[in-house]
Symmetry: none
Subunit: 244 residues, 2 copies
DNA sequence: CACTATTTGTCCGTATGTATG
DNA sequence: TCATACATACGGACAAATAGT
C-alpha cells in the first residue's frame, strides 16, 4: 500500500496519501476523515505519526480538526495546481525579449568541447570550438532567468565581450561570415545542476525549461549549438497557432 | 541553498539529481563524475552525504567507484529516443504521434472547475465544464509519458470513453460543433506533484515539460483549455526553423 | 625507487530529526 | 510528555589505492 522506493518520512507518506485522496475527491468537502485510531489500525503507524500527518493537512488548510468531533475536509476538490499561471513576465518572442532584458557574457573563448558535443559536430576530441556562456536577466539588475551555453564552429572570432552589449549573438556570427540554412530546436525539461542552480539562483534540482538549438549551414553541416536553461517561473515559451 | 518543501533526505536528492544527469547523457559512459570534494564544494553538503549518494549509484550499477581514481559512469547511454511533436504547423500533425502511442481516457465528466480555471473561462464558480483526463503511453503497454487534463465549454457532449479510442479529442469536439479560431500555446517546466508523479511513474518533484493550450472560438471566447504534462526523458517538443 | 597530490574507504563523535511505546 | 532507538547530516581524522614527478 505504501510501498515507495524513495526514503521519505512516514508522516509525510501518510500526508501525501491523504492529500491525494482528498484532491481526487475520495473524501467530499465536509466529510469526516478516519479517526487517528482508525488510521493507526489501518496503517500500523503510531498515533504520534498519524497526528503529525493530519496536523500538516490542517496547517495547509485542507482539513479542520476539532476535538471530540474528528477531522473534517475543508477543501473543494481541484484536480491539479495547474492554475499556477500568474502570467507574469511572459515574453512573446526572442527579439522583443531584448528590450526588457539584458545579457551578460560570462565567458568567451576557444575550448575543446566535451565528448557529446564533439560527437554532434563530428570533430576530433582535440579540436576547439568557440564557447560562449551568457546569462540573461531582467533590466536594472533584476533576477536572472536564462543561462546560455553555445558552441560554434567559426575561425578567428574575436573573443571579446564588448560587442555583445549592443548586438545579439547570432547577428555577430552572421556578420563574421556564418550563413545558416536549417535550424532545429528542441524543448524539454531538466533538473538544475549545481552550476545552473547557482547562476539562476534556484535550489539544486529545480525544474528548468531547456532549449537546444542546432544551426546548420547551407550544406547541412552543424555550425552552431545553443543550449539554454530557463527558470520556468520567470520564462515560458509562447506561440500562436492559426487554422488555415 | 536546498530549500526543502518535501522532507526528502539530502543524500537521496543528490542521488536523484545524478541519476537523472547520467540518464540524460550529461555524463558519457566512462566519463568521470565530479569528485566527492568537488561535489562538496558545489552543493555545500558534507562528504559523508555525498558519499552515500554516490554509493547508491554504485550499488545500482550506474557508476563504478575506485579509490585514487574517482567515480566512473558505467551506464550505457540509454536507447533514449524521445518521441517528439512538431511545434509549427497544423495541430493535426500532432496527432501523427498517435501511430506509435496510445491514449487511455481516465475520466470524462462534467465538473465545476477550480477557481483559477473558472476565472480563465470567465464563468461563475458553480458552472460546469467538460473535464477529461487522459494518459498517453507507448504502444503495447509501454511506459506512460504524457498526462492530459482538459476543460471544455461544450453542451451535451456524451461523456463516454469509447469514441476516444478511434478519434483524437479535438476532432470529436469539432464534430460536436465547436469551431476554433485562435489557439495559444505556452511551454514551461514544473516539478511533478504527487498525482502526476504517480501517473507517469516518476519520483515526486521530477522535472516535467508542461504545455498549456488555450483554444478560442471565432469570437475570441475561450472554449477549450488543455494542460499537458510530459516526462522529459521520453518526450520533447521539436521544431524546424527556416530562413526566408 | 621514494615522494607527493588526489581520491575513495573507514571510523569517530556530535547534533538533530524521525518513530515507537 | 517522556524515554528510547534509529536515521540523517555534519566535521574531522586517518588509511589505502592510484597516478604523476
Amino acid at each position: 500500500m505504501l510501498e515507495n522506493s524513495d526514503p521519505m518520512p512516514l508522516y509525510h507518506k501518510l500526508y501525501q496519501l491523504l492529500h491525494q485522496a482528498i484532491h481526487s475527491g475520495a473524501f467530499a468537502t465536509g466529510a469526516k476523515l478516519p479517526t487517528e485510531k482508525q488510521l493507526q489500525e489501518e496503517t500500523g503507524m503510531s498515533r504520534v505519526t498519524i497526528k503529525r500527518a493530519l496536523d500538516e493537512l490542517a496547517l495547509e488548510g485542507l482539513v479542520v480538526r476539532r476535538r471530540g468531533i474528528g477531522t473534517l475536509v475543508q477543501y473543494a476538490p481541484s484536480p491539479l495546481q495547474a492554475t499556477h499561471a500568474p502570467l507574469r513576465g511572459l515574453l512573446e518572442n526572442l527579439e522583443e525579449m531584448g528590450r526588457n532584458t539584458q545579457v551578460k557574457v560570462l565567458q568567451i573563448k576557444y575550448q575543446t568541447p566535451p565528448e557529446g558535443i564533439a560527437a554532434q559536430f563530428k570533430i576530433s576530441p582535440e579540436d576547439t570550438l568557440l564557447h560562449i556562456i551568457r546569462r540573461r536577466n531582467f533590466q536594472n539588475g533584476g533576477r536572472s532567468f536564462a543561462y546560455y551555453q553555445s558552441w560554434t564552429r567559426i575561425k578567428n572570432f574575436p573573443a571579446k565581450v564588448t560587442p555583445f552589449r549592443s548586438k545579439p549573438r547570432l547577428q555577430l556570427l552572421r556578420e563574421a561570415g556564418l550563413v545558416f540554412g536549417e535550424i532545429h530546436q528542441r524543448l524539454g525539461a531538466q533538473a538544475a545542476d549545481s552550476n545552473t542552480a547557482r547562476e539562476l539562483q534556484l535550489p539544486l534540482g529545480h525544474p528548468l525549461l531547456t532549449l537546444t538549438r542546432s544551426s546548420y549551414d547551407r550544406r547541412s553541416v552543424l555550425c552552431d549549438l545553443l543550449i539554454a536553461h530557463y527558470n520556468p517561473e520567470l520564462f515560458e515559451y509562447q506561440m500562436e497557432l492559426r487554422r488555415e
